[in-house]
Amino acid sequence: MHQVKNPFTTLYVTERMEDDKFPSLFSPVLVPHIMPLFHAGNVVVNGTQGTGKSMLLALLRTDIRRAFEASRSDPYPVADDNCQFVSASINLATNQALRFANHWKATDSSDALSKLQDGFVDYANTWLLRDLLGSVRDLHIGPSSLWDRCAIGDSGVSLEDAVQCLLKDEVIRPLLSNSRNLSEASDCLTRRLDTYLRFLNGKLSSLPADLTLPQPHPLGHPIAATVHAWRSSGFLRGTTRVIVIIDQFEQLLDFESQLQGRPFGLLRDIIDDAIHLREPTICYRIGTRPYAWRHRKSERLRDYLDLDLDQFLTRKEHSKNALFPAFAEDVFQRRLKLFDYPEPARAEDPLRSAFGRSPSPGARAKLLASQKNWVRLVRIPKTFPTEVQEQLHLLAGHNPLSAKLGVAWYYQQLNERHGSGLRPSVSLSPKELPWEEPTKKWWKKERRRLAILQLAAGFGQRVPMFGKRDVIDLSGSNILVFASICQHIWTCWIRSLDDAPASPDYGFPMDSGVQDEGIRNASREWHKKISEEPWVGDSLAQFIDILGNYLHDALVKDKAMSYPGGNGISISDRDIKAFNIVDKVLLDGADRGYLLQRRHTPKNRSRGPSRKWYLHPVLSPHYEITVTHTKEPRYLRASTIYDWLIKAKAVFPQDARQKRSDEQQQLPGFESEQ
């Protein structure tokens, strides 16, 4: 029996997937948008968790380039003339360099701090140089190597000669000692790194003399010296770019901010300075989450180009040309292909083939109860005039969604009359379904999802979610969330199979109930992930729980559906300024991708510039709130949120970290953050 496999078991392409599978899983959909990565100059790749930063930066790594070279079916997604580069990379989450920060002391003299900074820089330089040597070796070997094809350098110069020419350089010589070849040079650098690690572990009371350089080098200096030496010797062409990748930059900020009472930002500033200096021989590529790349000394456009993945993946309101659905579709298709799933019946639309169409609003409403219960589902208020009740009763029998919208319509009429001084008991004449008139098209459209939510809540049900549209909407332009939803749906689907699917198309589309279960599991998992966020998890989870429950209650209780956009909140910038802690918590949520933050122009202009926040759509099934963002969000005062935070013990008066956060947030540039 053919065993059915879950193509989404491994979510992260870069961290957990073998290199040889990368080409078949990598989606080139984003490549036209990230071409600056392959050009000269510094680039900051900015994005929240799951937007694919590391995956894109991996394209620059030599092991990945070679994996594409070896692949018969998936060519490197960038033309050769853009590939004249070599790279060296350092991942700050894994390479141990941050451990230098643990050695700061509050009482350290500036001289002692400077020595530790020098140690960090030397460690990072050594790491990068070792990686560059390995990178060059890997590009150079093989008969039809990338070295020649991409015109990186002169293959007439041997690798041994390349190492020898480095030994003549005053900057590099102390690092490579008397290495005779590439292998010895690499070993020499490894010994240097390991000595640092032993020092950081307390095994050496001080750094050995042979680690002390005559003069400490700034970050990138040995790489620049290497490039000069190689260009002079002809080993490297003058036009070849040397790319230095620094990934997981946010780790610096997270790590240093936890070291209370100690100098802050010392490591982070080193990298910022390197970008600011604009060393012409090096093109830096920084992978970071948005919050870590604020208030830099380096300047956008002048020192670096910003690739904001969130910005170009996020669907623009009212735009049909969204990039994310095509990206998700391609990722989906590649996963299925790698796991030997047969070509979907509709190759041009594999998501629809697997998940089918999401139900229309009317059909979704009808799924909430059997037909005999549709009238009960609508819960027509007994306070309405009898003729109105009768009208809605009749309507509910065949169209519960329209009847629910009718309830809201009449509530609004009553409210209006009440507001104008008329007695609410005044009889309403039941016209021919005024909310169904063409002029009310938008009124109706904006309230359909809310109506379904209220129908479900009133009947003790949850809104069923399935189909392509729902999967895309719930992914919130985040490819990791998308893969996670697919993974959970697949798990439920495999569990539901008695045997391997007999038909060649696997019996797609999958059963809607199975999809619904998978989506709920994914939503639960993402909710659980909030509390796993390092350093902020518990407080953030408490806050998001309060917000989610508030939004749910407000949406369900809004019988007149006056706030169909009430699945989000808006706070004016002026108001929030007085509550830094509120801003910090909202930023914590947005930076980690659990909240979506947008600028907001409120209808009421007197509020001034505002920002609005929504829960990430994947959390909507968990909190049972509507998914789409429409109309005006709920206007809230920052003080209300502050009270919530106090009530939930998510903030406390003596929060010393807050002071630090306040200092950062007062810096210029904050107001323009999206």
Partner: protein
């Protein structure tokens, strides 16, 4: 060496069984948990207390801080009533690393006389792992006992805003090469943010030390932990990868760790999330493996603050004496836990 007898048992029994009748230096903690006072008071009541050095570890600001401060004051008063002025408090920050820990050790070592009881009941891992290393290696220390006092029960909320996976001070990696370690996790109640380990370097193999038997409802929380690792973090576990170990059996846990790592010359990462006695086994195993020249690291998701009700009360025997497990780690300068 597997199968070696390493004396351990109730504290009073172990003290009686030892040939030495000297007095003891107790290194413990002054914290919020009731059990932090047990060992110093016990040793004092037996008239065997030479000195008592208590680490008062300051957490970072958290919602627990007021309750913790009140509870610590209660413990301090109890300690003062029982010990008079014969104890000393050394203050330290929870997130301390080597620059802070080294001076603390220098201070402690200057006072120690040779027979030491290290009470790890309420000491955070980043402190007791480090102190164990120093005590084990110090030639000044002839006898070393490690104690763990069992609480009546654990609280429902243990800690706050745990950090990412990071290596404990002095137990970090010492190899800059590519990582594919064997990861051994001691199963506890809170998985915290274990996923970071995957991002740090995909473990080649994962094994779990599962505390068994576990006092209800602890077992349920332990299985929740396993479920999280298996289903949500996608580690593929075989039945043989879940290794049961008695939560008080440090010696057996040490042997199991040794057995799991026979022939393993690559990196081994230990994640001590489980009971204190299993964490102790991991600390001793890491020191033993390191002494054999084999690569080993120990990491943890350090929370910046712990709940005042991390544990509640002290478990007592039928005769009313507190339940304190004592492990003889070193006697006459000879370490018991070696490979």
């Amino acid at each position: 060496m597997i199968g070696r007898y390493r004396p351990h048992g109730p504290l009073r029994w172990l003290l009686d069984a030892l040939p030495t009748h000297s007095k003891w230096d107790v290194i413990g903690s002054l914290g919020a948990e009731a059990r932090c006072t047990t060992v110093p008071c016990e040793i004092r009541s037996l008239d065997k207390l030479e000195s008592c050095l208590l680490l008062k570890v300051r957490d970072q600001p958290s919602p627990f801080m007021d309750d913790v401060a009140k509870a610590v004051e209660v413990r301090r008063k109890k300690m003062a009533r029982a010990l008079g002025n014969s104890f000393r408090v050394i203050e330290a920050e929870l997130m301390s690393d080597l620059p802070e820990l080294d001076p603390i050790w220098d201070d402690l070592e200057s006072v120690l006389t040779g027979h030491v009881i290290l009470d790890i009941s309420c000491l955070p891992k980043r402190f007791f792992f480090y102190l164990l290393r120093r005590l084990q290696k110090s030639t000044k220390i002839s006898t070393l006992i490690v104690t763990v006092t069992i609480p009546e029960r654990y609280g429902s909320e243990l800690s706050w805003n745990a950090g990412p996976w990071d290596f404990l001070p002095s137990f970090g990696r010492e190899h800059s090469g590519q990582v594919q370690p064997l990861l051994i996790i001691a199963v506890g109640y809170q998985h915290l943010t274990l996923l970071n380990i995957v991002e740090e370097g995909e473990p080649r193999t994962v094994r779990l030390l599962f505390p068994f038997p576990s006092k209800p409802p602890g077992g349920i929380r332990n299985w929740e932990f396993v479920r999280n690792i298996e289903h949500e973090k996608k580690f593929k576990l075989r039945p043989t990868d879940v290794i049961r170990v008695n939560p008080q059996e440090t010696s057996i846990a040490f042997d199991l760790l040794t057995g799991q790592c026979v022939g393993e010359t690559n990196e081994v990462w230990l994640a001590p999330f489980g009971p204190k006695s299993i964490s102790l086994a991991m600390a001793l195993f890491a020191l033993a493996r390191e002494a054999s020249g084999l690569p080993v690291s120990v990491g943890y998701n350090q929370p910046p603050a712990y709940s005042a009700t991390y544990s509640i009360g002290v478990e007592r025997r039928t005769d009313g004496t507190p339940l304190v497990h004592a492990y003889l780690v070193k006697a006459s300068g000879i370490a018991f836990y070696t490979l």
